[in-house]
């Protein structure tokens, strides 16, 4: 039952992703219309999966990295759907759903195997995971806006003003959206790193060390801090800020990949 719901959710995400891409690349109005509906169905299926997972296995969203990825993918979709209802930016689904799909597939790698051991659990853990998940949701959406910006700017510069260019939003809209999302994600990431550091110090008092995963988290923080600082102080915007946002998200995603690999190693 739980596995069936997981597979169904994955398939629905994949279908909506294909439909969004068909809308973005080919301009099929019907595909965009159906993509939103299928994504709505994916959310229902995802919620049913989380409910069943909790009821059958007692798994909670912050139980391990896979469940964290699962809840992150759901929150990305919910944030996108909320933004879509307000701004009618169906076309950004073509950038957001591939990220969602990757996260959800990551959630499926070695699921329900590596739980956080009891001796390292702490009250900080839910807070640490909670703020990091919300941060990664904001960064994923900022990444989508930044990628759309880079493509749109490139098309405008090359004077390729056909279908994709017509469907993507204005550069200024994408730039402002990316800036706002990084502004939301950065404090969350900061709190996530502080709580993570406190937690790590508590369980590893004798020999504190920085792993590659933690290194990427710090790098992500530095990149986003740099992007925000340069935006405010030096007037950075547009392509440079978009590329900075994409690099920052890549570092944040590398942290998640690191956790997935670590979880795989503990199986």
């Amino acid at each position: 039952m739980v596995t069936a719901l997981f597979v169904a959710t994955g398939v629905l995400y994949a279908v909506s992703c294909s439909l969004y891409l068909a809308f973005l690349l080919r301009g099929h109005e019907g595909a965009g219309h159906w993509a939103n509906r299928v994504l709505g169905a994916s959310v229902v299926s995802h919620l049913a999966f989380l409910g069943a997972d909790y009821a059958v296995h007692g798994n909670v969203p912050y139980g391990d990295i896979h469940q964290t990825l699962s809840i992150a993918s759901l929150l990305i979709v919910l944030a996108y759907l909320a933004a879509m209802l307000k701004y009618r930016i169906t076309v950004l689904g073509g950038f957001i759903t591939p990220v969602t799909l990757l996260f959800f597939m990551g959630a499926g790698l070695g699921r329900s195997v590596a739980h956080v051991p009891h001796d390292v659990r702490s009250a900080l853990l839910p807070l640490h995971i909670g703020v990091n998940v919300l941060g990664i949701v904001a960064f994923a959406l900022a990444f989508a806006a930044a990628l759309a910006y880079v493509i749109q700017e490139r098309l405008l510069r090359r004077k390729q003003l056909g279908g994709v260019f017509q469907r993507l939003p204005a550069l200024d809209v994408l730039d402002s959206l990316g800036f706002r999302l990084v502004t939301i994600g950065f404090p969350l990431l900061t709190v996530g790193i502080i709580t993570g550091t406190l937690w790590a110090v508590r369980i590893d008092r004798d020999a504190p060390s920085v792993t590659a995963t933690e290194g990427f988290a710090l790098l992500a923080w530095l990149v986003f801090a740099g992007v925000l600082l340069l935006r405010v102080a030096a007037g950075w915007r547009g392509r440079r800020a978009a590329i900075g946002t994409m690099i920052g998200f890549a570092c944040a995603a590398a942290v998640l990949v690191g956790y997935v690999i670590q979880a795989g190693g503990t199986q």
Binding site: L156, L161, P169, A170, L171, V173, R237
Partner: protein, 447 residues
């Protein structure tokens, strides 16, 4: 035939230069009066006059299309002293319907796919309707034309993409800045091209500033489009402050050089700048386009976009023509059925009258017939009418849906010596539907 024929006579951008078109144009407020004047001659049963900057056309329905065509030719000729006969075209019957559908769908427009013509046709139609110039034929034809135009716009890409240079520039500015309201635009040079672009920008709520070597001309243009004039020495500072810049000077050298823009972009702190160079020779050094936050488009770039959009529209026009062809077929089917109905009524009357006449001659010799027997004989006459006319009506019905339908109906009317006006007894009308149904055809109008 009793339903009349459709015809269109007029001239357009395809056949006549602007100087001729403007002499023949009819002011909108005078259209009703002109239509009443045409109808008063008695040569037309219906009429619509369409007058736009690209065409002057008279649409009409008439029993005698040759006389009507002459009247309309004379009517158009009277509007000018010049001989316009060489500029006029005439469309009759199905070709008139095709022309109406194509004009409404903007397939005959100077810029294929432009939306204004449909509104202009609707306006002309409403004026004619108010003047009593619209009857069954033109009414049906125009209503179908409006529906065809809607189909063409929704089912094909004929209206896709902008095709005017200034509109493309505005569209691109919107793709960079989103909403243009409150943005700053700078016009460098005060030529005609600048003025056209400035007016389009002003409509979008953009704040306009004009820089020109001649301050008087800058003031003049600024006043004309609701902007502010600035001294030419303020060019650099205005470039720093603006979001959109349109250059159209007559300068033989670059007015905006790469060195100037290096300093400007540094002062702008990466704020995007949309530079539109519509001057020939160019005002902006092409190397400016390599700067990070500057988007540079020259006249060729904009014209290329316009041409691509126009080419797309032309490709889509092929699909639109197919829609028009299918709709003409439907319309002609309906028109064919118009001639059929009075013919069927008259034909039934003719046969019934003949049979009843024979019966009435025989009845005095049949003394012993009661009420019941007489009713049976009446029913027998009806049955005989149906029996005798079944095959002819089937063929007429089938023939009315083909281009030869009118000939077939005319032949039937001549063979049975049916009256021309199609007047029939009211009771007979009810039987027509039954006869057509019995003949196995689909009755009534097309879509």
């Amino acid at each position: 035939m009793t339903v009349g024929e459709l015809l269109v006579i007029g001239l357009s951008h395809h056949t006549a230069p602007l100087a001729v078109r403007e002499r023949l144009s009819v002011a909108t407020e005078r259209t009703g009066e002109e239509i009443q004047r045409l109808l008063a001659t008695g040569a037309l049963t219906e009429s619509v006059v369409l007058s736009t900057c690209n065409r002057v056309e008279a649409y009409a329905a008439a029993r005698d299309p040759v006389a009507a065509a002459k009247l309309l030719r004379d009517y158009l000729q009277q509007r000018t002293d010049d001989d316009v006969a060489g500029y006029l075209y005439e469309r009759l019957g199905t070709e008139a319907v095709r022309h109406t559908f194509r004009v409404a769908s903007s397939l005959d427009s100077m810029v294929v796919g432009e939306p204004q013509i449909l509104g202009q046709m609707k306006c002309a139609f409403a004026m004619s309707e108010a003047a009593g110039g619209v009857g069954m034929l033109l009414g049906r034809c125009f209503h179908r034309a409006f529906a065809v135009a809607k189909r063409v716009r929704t089912e094909t890409g004929i209206a896709s993409g902008t095709v005017s240079v200034s509109s493309i520039a505005i569209e691109l500015a919107c793709k960079i800045f989103g909403n243009l309201r409150g943005r700053r635009a700078l016009l460098v040079g005060a030529g005609k091209m600048s003025e056209a672009a400035a007016r389009t920008l002003a409509k979008q709520g953009v704040r306009l500033f004009v820089v020109n070597r001649s301050p008087e001309r800058a003031e003049e243009l600024a006043r004309a489009c609701g902007g502010e004039a600035r001294g030419y020495e303020q060019l650099a500072s205005e470039l720093v402050a603006s979001d959109v810049v349109i250059t159209s000077t007559a300068s033989p050298r670059f007015v905006i050089t790469a060195d100037l823009m290096h300093d400007v972009t540094r002062a702008r702190r990466h704020r995007p700048l949309f530079l539109i160079d519509i001057a020939v020779p160019r005002d902006v050094d092409p190397r400016v386009g390599d700067l990070g936050s500057v988007f540079l488009y020259d006249l060729d770039d904009l014209q290329q976009v316009a041409n691509e959009n126009l080419a797309t529209r032309r490709r889509e026009a092929h699909a639109a023509e197919q829609i028009v062809a299918a709709e003409i077929e439907q319309f002609e089917r309906w028109r064919g059925s118009l001639g059929l109905t009075p013919t069927v009524v008259a034909l039934r009357e003719r046969v019934r009258d003949a049979l009843r006449g024979e019966l009435e001659r025989t009845l005095p010799r049949l003394n012993s017939l009661g009420e019941a027997e007489l009713k049976s004989l009446e029913k027998m006459i009806d049955a005989m009418v149906n029996k005798v006319l079944h095959q002819p009506l089937t063929e007429l019905k089938r023939g009315s849906e083909t281009p030869e339908g009118a000939m077939l109906i005319d032949a039937a009317r001549r063979l049975f010596a049916l009256p021309d006006d199609g007047e029939t007894k009211p009771a007979a009308d009810r039987d027509v539907v039954r006869s057509l149904a019995a003949a196995g055809g689909r009755g009534g109008e097309g879509r």
